[in-house]
């Protein structure tokens, strides 16, 4: 395909880093974020003096301004944050890619540091319900799992999906986690274990829900020209996209005309157009997984299978492996940033559940909020 961006400005991931995950990291998110960024820069053979762009999740407590002064970054030519919780990951990376392509910056770092375990549950303290929340929280619709449960029930009704279909996701990702020394959940789990666990928000059981983790990760994006000077295996960003869909809400995306659709359905065509690829080109997927139902709905909304057919497709052997680190369900939940970092590992060939010869990896953000997706690739445009 013809591209407006010259090949030497193709965005390339040259550094990744994850601090060890835990239930209590015993440091501030300011410090863990700084350590993650320093680690990712060291991975790339770069230092903070090379950085001229910082992008972050809107929910990241440490701003670009504070991180700039804490790390001694000389000057930011590009900065910005993206709201909407776990939808932000691929979107901040998309903005990093735009900056690289447009030659507005040379080294852009994205990070996520979150003490989501030791810092408590965000929903537990939100007693003043403003905006969309005023019609939800007083009714008891408070936790992210509650919003997802209303989607999941509807998808089960519409498509005939069963609890075992969601359990397949939980069990599969636990198997992946078992091979990953960094993963917090190492115990084997059977479908019977899954079904025996207590309900949280019917039809969602305990193991349909992601972990609650302290974690910090970072990723360094530069241009193909700059990457050529670095002693790292480049991971090319072949395409990226973001999308809101119509009438979007955070987690409760069910007031609009099309009940059952998520913003990912609007991201998908933009992604494939921007990447010049199709689902058939994808060797491995990293789907944002705060909850198991997000995996089948993503498989069908990104066009891997027909609407409603995702569970059969996932059992068919035709589906690419997904969430190979164990994901948010069994490795760690760091607002989906560990999903993105695992995507880079698959292209580097360093995953603990490596897909042999993986050339293209799809990585997505939380799909029931405005969200995004990227394709990491072995080869340049």
């Amino acid at each position: 395909m013809t591209r407006a961006v010259p090949k030497h400005r193709q965005p390339v991931v040259v550094g990744i880093h994850a601090l060890p995950y835990s239930k209590d990291m015993r440091m501030t998110e300011r410090r863990s974020g700084a350590l993650a960024i320093l680690g990712a820069l060291a991975d790339a053979g770069l230092t903070p003096t090379d950085v001229d762009g910082l992008v972050r999740y809107g929910w990241e407590k440490t701003t670009e301004m504070e991180m700039t002064r804490n790390l001694g970054v000389p000057n930011l030519r590009v900065f910005g944050d993206v709201d909407f919780g776990g939808g932000a990951g691929p979107v901040v990376l998309g903005h990093a890619c735009e900056a690289i392509e447009l030659d507005h910056a040379d080294v852009v770092v994205a990070w996520r540091a979150r003490n989501r375990s030791s810092g408590g549950r965000p929903w537990a303290g939100q007693l003043l319900a403003e905006g969309q929340d005023q019609f939800e929280r007083p009714q008891g619709l408070i936790r992210p799992s509650d919003g997802m449960a209303l989607h999941a029930r509807y998808w089960m009704h519409r498509y005939g999906w069963k609890s075992e279909d969601f359990g397949l996701v939980a069990v599969t990702q636990r198997e992946h986690a078992h091979r990953n020394p960094m993963a917090l959940m190492q115990q084997p789990m059977t479908i019977d274990d899954y079904l025996a666990a207590r309900m949280i928000s019917d039809p969602l059981r305990l193991f349909d829900c992601c972990l609650e983790t302290d974690g910090a990760l970072a990723m360094v994006v530069t241009s193909a020209a700059r990457a050529a000077d670095l002693d790292v295996a480049p991971v090319y960003v072949t395409g990226y996209a973001m999308g809101s869909g119509p009438d979007p809400y955070g987690m409760t995306f069910f007031y609009g005309d099309e009940l059952g659709v998520t913003p990912a359905k609007y991201v998908a065509p933009e992604l494939w157009r921007n990447a010049g690829l199709s689902p058939a080109d994808i060797d491995v997927c990293q789907f944002y997984d705060a909850f198991t139902p997000q995996i089948p709905i993503c498989f069908q909304e990104f066009g891997f299978c027909a609407e409603g057919d995702a569970p059969a497709y996932m059992r068919s052997g035709d589906a690419p492996l997904y969430n190979t680190s164990g994901g948010g369900l069994s490795e760690a939940y760091v607002h989906g940033f560990n999903i993105l970092v695992e995507g880079v590992r698959q292209i580097r060939g360093t995953s603990t559940t490596q897909v042999d010869g993986a050339r293209h990896c799809l990585a997505t953000g939380g799909n029931v909020v405005p969200t995004g997706a990227l394709v990491f690739s072995k080869e340049p445009w």
Binding site: L128, F135, I142, P203
Partner: protein, 157 residues
């Protein structure tokens, strides 16, 4: 079995100028939603202008509020302390009969509007089941809630 009162604070709706008419109506136990006079679109949640035809003033209109179950979940621990005495309880996505396209969130209650401590099984909760509007007091707030009713003689509130 209905829930007992709790000392812990419930989440409080914080109204603003765009949503105040909804909360004012709830005090009178009237359910209202925006209904665009220009293009006929029912709008939920409240919006400052009509998102379809961009009419600048979108009037509020009372609805009878009966509807059907578009989806539901059962809330179980861990929950806010205020809701702890009430678990398990049912939250539904309610498609309103006389405001096409409007789906509101509300709890499953009894005839008097008291929150039911239930997983909905005994009440016969199901997708598409008929619901009658009730009103539930939660501290100083009056919230719309819904009771499962027979489809043939769904009572008007």
């Amino acid at each position: 079995m209905t829930a007992s009162a709790s000392e812990a604070p419930f989440p409080l709706p914080v109204a603003d100028a765009d949503t105040q008419p909804f909360w004012d109506a709830t005090v009178q136990r009237r359910l209202v939603a925006q209904h665009c006079a220009a293009c006929g679109k029912w709008i939920w949640q409240p919006k400052p202008v009509c998102p379809r035809c961009h009419a600048l003033d979108v009037p509020w209109e009372e609805v009878h509020g009966d509807g059907t179950v578009a989806s539901w979940t059962v809330i179980r621990p861990p929950v806010l302390p205020a809701f702890q005495p009430s678990v398990p309880f049912v939250i539904m996505l309610v498609a309103l009969d006389d405001a096409p396209g409007v789906r509101m969130v509300g709890q499953l209650v009894d005839e008097q509007g008291a929150l039911l401590v239930t997983d909905g099984v005994a009440e016969g909760l199901a997708m598409g089941a008929s619901l009658g509007l009730r009103w539930r007091e939660q501290g100083e707030v009056i919230l719309p809630a819904w009771q499962l009713v027979p489809p043939a003689d769904a009572p008007r509130s």
